[in-house]
Symmetry: C2
């Protein structure tokens, strides 16, 4: 009898509990799912209407997949949970005293528990003017932009009669030797070589250069040396020039300056580092490192009541006392942990044990038949790693339809080397290089 009324009390408290989750990436969605179809009132706010499977975004940028293959409307993902409401809106601040989230446009949303899961963005280390010439790879918009620049550079090179200009247009520069940089470099080399031999008449494979620039002493610094060495060889075999210990000094339209090098280029891609979303400033926090919000072992924001931070924007510490890396698997595990902790806390009054990250393996793919896996105790590389990479990434897609569509396109590509999404938007500027008036005969 006493127990029943206690439970009733918890239920009615839960019903009046409002959890607001800002951001529907890996972390936010995982938290929301754990809270789905409970008596808790959940609101998920994102400025985008879709979640994005970022590990495959480089394939959109290199014309292998369509944006819709790797993204899904947040409403669709969460539609089955009747207690979850989705808002497409931009958050501009948090009032931790009134316990409200402020939206662009003047609406406030009240919360009892707030989850900040706003992710990260590319860090240009004070050179935000480089962004226009060297987009990163965080959104569909950027992936389409990169795809267009790449394809237009090839088209312009085909039309050019100036050998120097031709070479410059066919030179791609990728800044940053992390997994994204390596994946982009490998994919661009494959795409370029295929297009030149198959589809263009006035370009030679030798005209093409793909340059991967890393400021530090080695690429894929998070991986053990044997895998880095393998990746380096695989990249070089694919025709990528890897340059390490080379900090970039300037990026302008069509030129990258690094060390003593001046590289004329048709397409620059930024993958040199991330910083946390500016969510810390909502709380008046200057997060560290790179804007990440300090949290305790329960992922609650240090110094605030009822506010939590998960994923790339959170500076949770690992067992070694260092901040956990900004990886999808960390975000997902934190979201799941927090969603479960909030559910049990609000419905059952239970206190959760501290968050612990379980490393499921770190991976990067260089190209056809070449990938690396680091599982901590053991590693994997080569064709087998590549198959495993493909299977894992198909499996991680959000539903059966996307798994089927991506599988078919990958099998098709494996057999034909064709990339199906080589689209240039009609609104992109195209024109024949106008150096000289000439008649083609």
């Amino acid at each position: 009898m006493a127990e029943a009324s206690l439970r009733d009390g918890a239920e009615s408290q839960a019903r009046s509990s409002r959890v607001v989750i800002v951001g529907a990436g890996f972390a936010g969605l995982a938290a929301a799912r754990e809270l789905g179809n409970t008596a808790i009132d959940v609101t998920v706010i994102d400025r985008r209407n879709h979640n994005l499977f970022q590990p495959l975004l480089y394939q959109v940028a290199t014309a292998a997949l369509s944006p819709a293959d790797i993204s899904e409307p947040i409403r669709r993902t969460l539609g089955r949970y009747r207690n979850i409401r989705v808002m497409l809106a931009e958050v501009i601040g948090v009032d931790a005293v009134a316990k409200t989230v402020k939206l662009d446009g003047g609406t406030d949303v009240a919360y009892d528990r707030l989850v900040i899961a706003t992710g990260s963005e590319y860090n240009y280390f004070g050179h935000d003017d480089w962004r226009a010439w060297a987009p990163g790879l965080k959104t569909i918009h950027e992936a389409r932009l990169i795809r267009q620049r790449l394809l237009i550079a090839f088209e312009k090179a085909e039309l050019s009669h100036d050998p120097e200009e031709k070479k410059a247009l066919l030179t791609s520069v990728i800044i940053g030797g992390g997994p994204t940089g390596v994946e982009m470099a490998g994919a661009i080399a494959e795409l370029g070589r295929f297009m030149i031999t198959r589809d263009f008449r006035r370009l030679e494979p030798d005209h093409m250069r793909v340059i991967l620039i890393e400021a530090g002493p080695k690429i894929l610094a998070a991986f053990p040396d044997n895998l880095t060495q393998y990746a380096l060889k695989a990249l070089e075999k694919a025709g990528v020039e890897v340059m390490t210990n080379l900090p970039v000094q300037s990026v302008t339209n069509g030129e990258v300056v690094a060390g003593s090098l001046r590289i004329r280029t048709g397409c620059v891609i930024w993958g040199a580092g991330v910083k946390a979303s500016p969510a810390g400033t909502w709380l008046g926090i200057e997060g560290k490192p790179a804007g990440r919000i300090p949290v305790g072992a329960d992922l609650s924001v240090t110094g605030f009541a009822d506010i939590y931070a998960v994923g790339d924007t959170s500076a949770a510490l690992g067992e070694d006392g260092k901040p956990l890396p900004a990886l999808a698997q960390v975000a997902k595990q934190q979201g799941e942990y927090l969603g479960k902790a909030l559910r049990q806390g609000l419905l059952e009054g239970r206190v959760a044990s501290p968050f612990q990250f379980r490393n499921r393996g770190n991976t990067a793919v260089i190209g056809r038949n070449a990938a690396i896996f680091d599982f901590g105790k053991w590693t994997l590389k080569g064709r087998l790693a590549w198959f495993l990479w493909a299977i894992v990434h198909v499996y991680l897609l959000v539903n059966f339809e996307k798994r089927l569509l991506v599988s078919i396109q990958w099998i098709w590509r494996y057999l034909t080397r064709q990339r199906g999404a080589r689209l240039i938007d009609e609104n992109a500027a195209i024109s024949v290089p106008s150096s000289t008036q000439r008649t083609e005969t």
Copy 2:
């Protein structure tokens, strides 16, 4: 001996024959294919890098398919023909005396035979300022724009607290009762009803209106009355309000004025008529009707030597003496005819018999299980017509990969009613309606 030397002469003449095709739509591509792997030197110029299967573009606009599912790089389509060169460039004029095509940027391309296949664009009948508020459906860019406006209107409606504003945002207006208008109206009604019942929490199906406005006395005027009647009933069953004899007086941001009606709306789509591309002006011709270039029975442009016009931009006459309709099947047949005629003319010196259009059947789809076919002597409507429509359109796609991808998505959608491509680009403006400051609890 005499014959052999004659053939040699024809071969060497062909080798020096340069055919330039401007535009790689249905007509231009069909012509190019007929000239593929011959001794003729062919150049295809388009300002886009892809051809587009326009009959399915409305499915991109209504989030059912991805752009890459229905478009393919022109280079990929023509890559197998070693005598065909593709140029991504904008044509700005023709010098019929010097026999050159002028490209934006200063390059001239010389021709011996010129094929103009530049298609059509939407006709705003002197109101080009309406275009910004009422995009047509001719390019991927426009399809994405419409998809975004539709989805954003629903998102804004979900956030709105003003019942009038909610209703306005959920009202879509389609101007023009031709096949495109009917297809869009049916698809928007289906999409909207599904999203409201499944994914939104604060919208009711009754809030939604889809209005199809036609200036003339009936929709689908090119079809026989029994089919039009059926389409009208199917549209009304799907929840579309069809208004005929209602010319539009103005289109502004968020409002359409037609007759005595003032309709507040979240999304307007234009499908009220097409005009030919401005290619006629390159020749100093004011084409008729609606800018279409006058051609003879061999599709050569009247008054010009060695210049031909095919597809929507050509005003070829049918057996009844009226201009042929601007349809994909007309364009394809004309392109095939002309490509063959040029090949036989240049290689064998043969003179082609006049072009004759063969009607393969005219079709429009209203929605799930509802389509119409007009084969001239007999007609088809309902579920069977819809299955036939789906099979024909999958078959007409450019290759096996696209056929498979589209089939899977259609089957998936038929079973689940889900539309996989409900993406709003990150750069689209979103903000909460700001009428009043309020706190949501």
